[in-house]
Symmetry: C2
Subunit: 512 residues, 2 copies
């Protein structure tokens, strides 16, 4: 799964294109927090004094890429994460073994009334240095037009940059001689980029579960500002199952077990046609609505409040034309209006074909009858669907249609999540953004997916979300970057983003 999916604002920047950023900036007002420091001036001074150390901390971390898919630096990455936590003041720091790669857990207990959970990932996505304009492990400073000087490197925004920024806030509060206003519980995993297959083992380890259950809520640091400085507060996200649907002569007991000459089609069954026939039962003729038996049984339609939020956001954005152009799309499904398309985006579960692979895939043709055909699918789930329910229903549907031999190989996924906008977590986010002068809109439901259900579902059952100002982009892509010195008066650089996390802790401590 990819956190990129969460990054609605970066997506919006992508859609708008960077061409307009220069012109737009001239009309913008600076962030209030750029102009004044108020009661947090001592912390701000400490943040500024610690800036070079913060940058070095991020660069050193980028230089040690942990990649679960490649089993690369996993032990080293967990140990490094544990040291980062200790340096920031966490105690009882523990490397948590799992059936996969280890996680890290730590707490800061200052005897405060409230406790905040923080979710970190220490792993990063694979990368190919040849595709980068700057070496991906060097974290060099580069200028990003419309934003400013940024650190470029793998993990810069996804997720080491914002995580290091959060740690910088803890360092600064301590350096300012203050006690933290809230207790903090830190849970980290090293398998986010492969779909968090063992994260539940970490979160439900008895001592960690007990600590999490004390939290008001938990968030992952995320630099959520687009080029206009706006952020969105997500009130939930779709779930996802990623899987391969496989038709093969091997399992079918018909057709060939390997590729054979295509002239044999007249006497030999075809697993590729079997896949096509199985696939087409999964959706309506237009390919837009799941047709798997019972799929909508537990689907909760959006509430009027949620629909209103979506309509308001669409109105505020008014970016349909740019979005269509950026996506290369001329019509939404069923020729819906933009509002209705965005409502559909949030509301509907989907069955998407990510990829098709069978037989000969090179240039031109080759006269083979493939022994195996694969459709890579992702199925987006909405509340109150669950992964377990969906997997069971997909299997039952295929079986009922006679495709008992068609394999469903699930590689990963997340349940959908929801978080109450009345929770102290979300109210604290909104209050902090307001204090920072950042325009925040409520996003009823992300169409993307993240591991938040580990927190929102039993047994943890706490609100979970994302918080942060600042900016970065290029998650999973070459030239990933994280903004350090902003030249855009609406967008926070490293110092202001650090202050954002500090402000959040005080806001949560005090929220009614």
């Amino acid at each position: 799964m990819d956190f990129r999916e969460l990054d609605r604002l970066n997506r919006r920047d992508l859609l708008r294109g960077t061409a307009m950023l220069g012109a737009g900036a001239a009309f913008m007002q600076p962030l209030p927090l750029l102009a004044q420091a108020g009661s947090m001036s001592d912390v701000r001074k400490a943040v500024e004094a610690g800036k070079d150390a913060s940058i070095k901390r991020l660069r050193d971390w980028i230089a040690l890429p942990s990649i679960a898919a490649e089993n690369r630096n996993m032990t080293e990455g967990a140990a490094y994460m544990a040291e980062l936590a200790k340096d920031a003041g966490f105690t009882n720091v523990e490397i948590v073994p799992t059936d996969g790669h280890p996680g890290v857990f730590g707490t800061i207990d200052v005897g405060a009334k409230r406790t905040l959970g923080i979710y970190f990932m220490y792993d990063v996505k694979q990368y190919d240095p040849a595709e980068w304009s700057s070496p991906p492990l060097e974290g060099k400073m580069v200028d990003r037009p419309g934003f400013g000087q940024s650190i470029m490197g793998r993990g810069a925004v996804n997720q080491k940059g914002p995580e290091a920024t959060f740690l910088a806030a803890l360092h600064a509060i301590r350096a300012a001689g203050r006690k933290l206003p809230v207790n903090i519980v830190l849970v980290c995993e090293g398998e986010e980029e492969i779909g968090s297959p063992h994260f539940r083992q970490i979160a439900t380890k008895p001592n960690i579960l007990a600590a999490l259950k004390k939290c008001e809520g938990i968030f992952i640091p995320m630099p959520g500002q687009d080029s206009s400085g706006n952020v969105a507060v997500n009130l939930g996200s779709k779930g996802i199952i990623e899987l391969e649907l496989v038709a093969s002569g091997e399992k079918w007991g018909r057709g060939p077990k390997k590729d054979v000459h295509s002239s044999l089609k007249a006497m030999v069954d075809s697993p590729a046609w079997r896949l096509v026939q199985a696939l087409q039962t999964l959706v309506t003729k237009d390919g837009n609505t799941p047709a798997i038996e019972g799929w909508f049984e537990n689907v909760r339609p959006l509430t009027e409040r949620e629909k209103t939020l979506i309509r308001e956001a669409a109105k505020a954005d008014n970016d349909e034309a740019q979005m269509k152009q950026a996506l290369g799309v001329t019509h939404w499904i069923d020729n819906l209006s933009y509002d209705d398309a965005l409502i559909r985006l949030a509301q509907e579960p989907t069955v998407n074909i990510e990829g098709l692979v069978a037989g000969y895939t090179g240039p031109g043709g080759k006269t083979v009858l493939p022994g195996r055909a694969v459709a890579k699918l992702d199925l987006r789930l909405v509340p109150n669907q669950t992964r377990a329910e969906a997997e069971k229903k997909l299997r039952a549907h295929l079986d009922k249609h006679g495709f008992t031999d068609v394999e469903v190989n699930v590689s990963g996924g997340y349940d959908p999540t929801e978080v109450d906008e009345k929770s102290s977590l979300i109210r604290s986010e909104l209050a902090t953004y307001k204090k920072l002068g950042v325009n925040a809109s409520l996003n009823a439901r992300m169409a993307g997916s993240w591991p938040g259900a580990t927190f929102t579902a039993p047994p943890v059952s706490i609100p979970a979300g994302h918080f942060g100002i600042g900016h970065g982009s290029g998650a999973h892509a070459p030239d990933e970057y994280y903004l350090i010195d902003s030249t855009n008066p609406k967008v926070a650089g490293l110092v202001d983003a650090t202050m954002g996390y500090a402000e959040f802790l005080y806001t949560l401590a005090a929220i009614k």
Copy 2:
């Protein structure tokens, strides 16, 4: 297209596996032509005397690979082919320009009563030296267990080896001081491996057309013996259209023009689903019978005679178990008996998926909604279907089902062919095999395809087929080889295969 498709006997060897060859050979009786030379003893002596020169001729030819797909050595290959023809006694040798790569034409007019056409290809398939156990351009002698010493190289069997063997027969007849018993018309192309897109331009050039129309028939030299020494005489072959079916946001005007994030599926149409829905209209639910409107309109069912030939061949072969094992198949379509499956193989037109390619095709998954999806299809045609008719009906079918945007990109193909078993060409083949003591069966219709329709259809309208003894294998694959010194008493090496072509010329000249 690939001549490999024609090589039913090599396929049969492949199916049987080479393990049984050693054991089988002990019980075999030697070919009559190995034991006696008769009235052709002077020619045989000349063939034996010319053997080293024949091998050198083949090796030198292999060292100059002409590959149309790579535009490699095409001018040089045509010039070399012309020299080979001249050396073998052809006059009026002409390099024939086309809109693609050139062909070669030549004749030997000895004032005989009858004229024979010979079809050559001077091009070869692409190759990757890394996959070969012997350098593919060196034509080294290697031992092939169960067969004997063979020349290994690209083009060895497909088609330079058998073509050079035919030329060796012409050299030997001349060296023996004889006049050819028939006139010969040679037509060569250099684009067989890319589907003969311009071959019709060669065959219908006025002087070439006039020469071809004088021929009793035309054949391509092909070493047709399996490990038991048996050959098949093909009475026709299916046609083929190779094409890509493409669904894209670009053409559809719906969905994205490029790959976008898969979460957008809820508001954006999917070209991959569009492809699946279009595909599934092309065949019956079981994937085995074309469902394209009007597809069977001109299909001529097999005659009782043709069915009888197939049943007899199946009975003689009795290789169902080995064939199933080699193909990795446990059931034929509809659980047909072997006889009925082979009848279906010859009789039915097919729509085969060669390959599927869309979106992300690497390991694991990637959350994209592809902007384009491609199915590589081959459609096998039977008499009296034609390529032109089939292309028109496929387009009309897709349009009628609303898939006007789904592209049909045809890359090549051949019409089906038929040749009368009463033609002098086929009767001469059978008589020659009989004289050589080679067991020949009539093959009612090849499920594979070849450019023979250029000859059998108007305006040329002459019988066309394949002839030859000897052995080779590995067309289009690494370690392609052609047998030179046979250790299998049932299978002809170079000298006997050369004599086979010489005998054919005399048989055709004398046939009633």
